[in-house]
């Protein structure tokens, strides 16, 4: 038991105390400030503690056992390199969201429904990362799920939110069930629930295969892997925006943590074919996620679908790491795992930032529908600048951080021709192509998101009279924008900071980057590839200022404002601008005709008729219709049939119980 662990645990207890305090404060006016202020303070302390661990380079693993939970086991906690990294992600997101909440929370109509659950949710996420036995892990996982569910149900009087909450609850229980079975298999018949014992145990190949499948179902459904993503775009936008930021930016990462912890750490080294499954799922998730996002016109739902894409990119990195590791190519495996973890950090930064921005737009205009916004760059200059930074970062454009992690993933793809297995030889380049496709589509998606929401002319009075938001929200957004920039131009430090994780999981690390010339990053060797975000930024800044200086020195400086060119027509109404739907129309036509059965119908009145012409675009969510709807129909059919059992006489119940007992005993005798 070390000092660090004591501080971390007291922080978590602190979160729970704040939650209790929030219940006590009830609807009192100061509650919002107290809860978010305290949460932000605790998160910052926890963040400082774990960052200090990385900066000091102390690789020592800290343990702690508390006499809680199962009486003969207790609750084990452990802080190693992997947990340290994910604690940074959790508490960075937590601190940012709490800071944002200080301002945003003032607009909340039902604060007493948010405040008690918010710090408890933060505590839950911290606990999952620290847990060191299966029981504590599952309990914390379920606690985290329930707290976030309560936050999703904040505005439970809206029909859509109730549906979102229901779907989330079903999917979360399904996920936990899968995790429960996975840990059951891992701990074996003797029931060694501590991770220490699981790590030491030998897992037969069929068990490992089942565990992998169950982890993909359990952690994958929480992270949002296609086709288990359906709850995510419903639930994330339904919560208040800073909670959406936490759910999308941080909770999905906790799910990724669960996957890494079990597959890379507890399970030992899985066979190579595991990587094929993870790679295929990752590639499909990335492309389908961004295509779904492109079809949306609700800003927060677009962001939530886009989380699915980024989870796909992270899983591509993890799949590559599994493939290399299974073939003993540990240098390449370290590169791929670093890329995935770097993307975990990046996504938590820019997705939180973008949800903050969407929340700012929501509180300023009351609208999430992009087709009712527009022109906000004039009314909300600070928000739009921060949102733009987030858009550039998430679109993987240099010199910001999103590009660095995708670049590293591409470099990892290029290491793969040495893989011996034929299926991997064919799948890896195809997945590389899917990754490139999803990156290009992501740029299209965020041109749409920023262009329709912030540019052009306002489409409604609400957008026309919007005001920029409070300083707390702006501070949170600008901090995260600055972090996106810093991680983009100084990626070497992040990569070096990740080296303890790859060392502990793969016994290998990427080369030390801090000494590279011009702070560039060099994955393998400089003759093979290198990239310097700092120099790219400096060059662009220099070239742009040089051009601007030259132009303003030698060219005409005259400027006149005039009406836009309307091709001879008088100024059209703002409704004639491109909308979210029309912007995505070419992409819908090319990509979604097959995938989402997209169809367009033009209803043109005959000459002389006075009714308006109509254009209707149809889209089907093929995954929902093909996979979930039949299951739902089957479940309700069976439930209807079984409903009779509710109205039996006591004699019949007794005979049923007796029958069940006999059957079980019979099964047991035949089994043994």
């Amino acid at each position: 038991m070390t000092q660090t662990m004591v501080i971390l645990m007291s922080g978590i207890v602190g979160f729970l105390a704040v939650a209790a305090l929030a219940i006590a404060l009830g609807r009192s006016g100061a509650a919002t400030r107290i809860v978010y202020g305290a949460s932000s303070g605790i998160s910052l302390v926890l963040l400082a503690v774990v960052v200090a661990r990385i900066v000091n380079g102390s690789p020592a693993i800290s343990f702690m056992t508390l006499p809680l939970g199962l009486p003969w086991i207790g609750a084990h906690f452990r802080l190693d390199a992997l947990a340290t990294f994910f604690l940074i992600v959790v508490n960075l997101g937590g601190a940012g969201a709490s800071l944002y909440g200080l301002g945003y929370g003032q607009h909340e109509t039902a604060p007493h429904r948010v405040l008690p659950f918010y710090p408890a949710f933060l505590a839950g996420m911290n606990l999952v990362v620290l847990a060191d036995d299966a029981f504590t892990f599952l309990l914390s996982w379920e606690f985290m799920s329930l707290m976030s569910w309560a936050l999703v149900m904040t505005h439970h009087r809206e029909q859509n939110n109730r549906r979102a909450g229901y779907v989330y609850l079903v999917m979360a229980s399904f996920g936990t069930l899968a995790l429960l079975l996975a840990f059951g298999l891992l701990s074996g018949a003797d029931g060694h629930y501590s991770f220490e014992a699981i790590r030491a145990g030998v897992h037969a190949p069929p068990v490992a295969a089942f565990v992998l499948a169950l982890m993909l179902l359990g952690a994958g459904s929480k992270a949002g892997i296609v086709p288990l993503h359906v709850w995510l775009p419903l639930a994330h936008p339904a919560a208040p925006s800073h909670v959406s930021a936490l759910m999308s930016g941080v909770m999905t990462k906790v799910a990724v943590y669960g996957f890494i912890r079990v597959i890379f750490d507890l399970l030992g080294d899985p066979a190579w074919w595991a990587s094929v499954i993870v790679l295929l799922l990752g590639g499909t998730t990335a492309v389908l996620g961004v295509l779904y996002a492109l079809m949306q016109h609700d800003l927060k739902r677009l962001l939530a679908y886009h989380t699915v894409e980024n989870i796909g990119i992270i899983f591509i990195g993890l799949g590559l790491a599994l493939a290399f590791n299974a073939n003993g190519m540990s240098v390449a495996a370290a590169l791929a795992l670093t890329a995935a973890l770097f993307h975990v950090l990046n996504h938590s930064l820019f997705k939180s930032l973008l949800f903050f921005g969407a929340g700012a737009v929501l509180s300023a205009t009351g609208e999430r529908d992009m087709d009712k916004l527009g022109g906000l760059i004039h009314r909300m200059p600070y928000t739009s600048f921060a949102f733009l930074v987030g858009c550039v970062a998430i679109s993987a454009l240099p010199p910001l951080n999103g590009f660095v992690s995708e670049w590293l993933t591409f470099q990892a793809v290029l290491q793969s021709p040495e893989l011996p297995q034929w299926s991997l030889k064919i799948i890896v380049p195809a997945v590389g192509g899917l990754l490139a496709l999803s990156a290009a589509l992501a740029a299209a998606c965020f041109v749409k998101a920023f262009g329709i929401t912030f540019l052009g002319r306002p489409r409604t009075p609400a957008a026309q009279h919007a005001q920029d938001v409070d300083p707390f929200s702006l501070a949170a957004m600008f901090t995260f924008a600055a972090l996106c920039f810093a991680a983009g131009v100084l990626p070497g430090f992040v990569i070096d900071g990740l080296s303890p994780v790859t060392l502990s999981l793969l016994a290998e690390r990427m080369p030390v980057q801090a000494n590279a010339a011009w702070l560039s990053i060099v994955p393998i060797a400089e003759s093979r590839s290198s990239y310097s975000g700092l120099l790219v930024f400096v060059f662009i800044a220099l070239a742009a200022s040089l051009a601007a200086y030259f132009i303003h020195r030698f060219a005409s400086r005259a400027l006149r404002r005039g009406p836009a060119w309307g091709c001879g027509f008088a100024e059209a109404t703002p409704m004639a601008q491109y909308t979210a739907g029309s912007f995505a129309q070419p992409i819908r036509h090319v990509f979604a005709t097959l995938i989402f059965c997209a169809r367009e119908e033009v209803d043109m009145p005959a000459p002389g008729e006075t009714r308006p012409a109509r254009f209707i675009a149809y889209l089907r969510d093929t995954i929902w219709d093909g996979l979930y709807a039949p299951v739902a129909v089957a479940v309700s059919y069976v439930a209807d049939r079984l409903n009779v059992l509710q109205f039996l006489t006591i004699r019949r119940y007794l005979s049923l119980v007796f029958l069940a007992l006999v059957t079980l005993l019979l099964v047991l005798t035949i089994w043994s």
């Binding site: 760059i377 550039v392 679109s395 993987a396 454009l397 240099p398 590009f403 290029l414 793969s416 021709p417 030889k425 064919i426 380049p429 590389g432 490139a436 496709l437 990156a439 290009a440 589509l441 740029a443 299209a444 041109v447 262009g451 540019l455 052009g456 002319r457 400089e526 003759s527 093979r528 590839s529 990239y531 310097s532 120099l535 790219v536 060059f539 662009i540 070239a543 742009a544 051009a547 601007a548 132009i551 060219a555 005409s556 005259a558 400027l559 404002r561 005039g562 009406p563 060119w565 091709c567 059209a572 004639a576 601008q577 491109y578 912007f583 995505a584 129309q585 070419p586 992409i587 090319v590």
Partner: protein, 316 residues
């Protein structure tokens, strides 16, 4: 070190000087092919000078983004062009960005151009941006697959290393490189808004892509955008030249004679490429917007096949 610095500096200025010339040369050849006399090859310089002298007419609701975008696009394109070996390899800052990063830099430029197209809130800007991102969503993955093919052949994504490797005798004729060349040419045509994907000379609303996005630009802003477009054309030509016809490139540390030879062969390569492009554009017609995905899909397939071949065997 000093020589390296001079070479890098010369390269940066050379591309600026040559870019409008290449555009003017292609226009001249196209005009001659149509039996027009055509404007002088220096016309693009005059156009740029004229645009810079004119005042800017800015739409009433243009934002700051609209005003800084021309400089950003110019800067990103210029930096990308400066990192491509034109007459010499071993540029001082070639370790700054490899080929993937150069492609992404152009992606940044396009991102901002597409946003600027939507800033005014006219339908033209929207139509241009929405089509541009469609084209980019297919051209960018195709380009990255070409990069994969080259990187797997040369064992590096660093352009200087690739160019040096391609000039060495061990390359020989390879199927995968042929596919990469085909894919790269299609991408270059699409990225530079040339016929048959887009027509640089049109102002017919229904067919415009690039021109629709920049319709609201005027004066010095338009000059920057036009300059960046010329630079991008030069960039793709230089890229194809340095990878697929690397002969004559001066290696790092060679004497002045090698640099002179490098420069002359470089200009000769540009001229050849310009004539070929002019012939191609004169011989084809622009295609419908929804045929473009098929055209780009072909390049995507070529790129993927090339990469797959290399995963099967490194010598193909």
């Amino acid at each position: 070190m000093i020589t390296d610095f001079i070479v890098q500096g010369t390269q940066m200025l050379l591309v600026l000087l040559l870019a409008p010339l290449l555009t003017g040369f292609i226009r001249k050849v196209k005009a001659r092919l149509l039996r027009h006399r055509g404007a002088s090859v220096l016309q693009p310089y005059r156009d740029l000078a004229r645009l810079m002298r004119k005042e800017v007419v800015l739409a009433e609701n243009a934002s700051w983004l609209f005003r800084i975008t021309p400089y950003l696009i110019f800067a990103a394109t210029w930096v990308a062009t400066a990192l491509i070996p034109t007459f010499a390899t071993g540029l001082l800052y070639s370790s700054t960005a490899d080929l993937i990063a150069i492609v992404a830099l152009l992606g940044s430029a396009r991102f901002f151009l597409a946003l600027a197209g939507m800033d005014i809130g006219t339908s033209f800007g929207g139509i241009g941006s929405s089509r541009e991102v469609l084209i980019a969503s297919l051209a960018e993955p195709a380009m990255l697959l070409v990069v994969f093919t080259l990187a797997l052949t040369a064992g590096s994504t660093q352009l200087s290393t690739i160019a040096t490797f391609m000039a060495s005798p061990e390359v020989g004729l390879r199927v995968s490189l042929g596919m990469a060349l085909g894919a790269l040419i299609i991408v270059a045509i699409a990225e530079n808004a040339r016929i048959p994907v887009d027509n640089p000379a049109t102002h017919l609303e229904l067919t415009m892509v690039h021109e629709a996005m920049v319709l609201e630009y005027s004066g010095r802003h338009l000059a920057m955008i036009e300059f960046a477009a010329s630079l991008k054309l030069l960039l793709y030509t230089s890229l194809i030249a340095c990878i697929f016809v690397p002969w004559g490139l001066a290696v790092a540390g060679a004497g002045p004679a090698a640099y002179v030879v490098g420069t002359i062969t470089y200009i000769a390569k540009l001229a050849t490429a310009g004539v070929l492009l002019a012939f191609f554009e004169t011989a084809t017609a622009k295609m419908r917007v929804f045929r473009v995905p098929d055209f780009l899909g072909a390049s995507l397939m070529l790129g993927l096949l090339g990469t797959l071949l290399l995963f099967v065997s490194r010598s193909l």
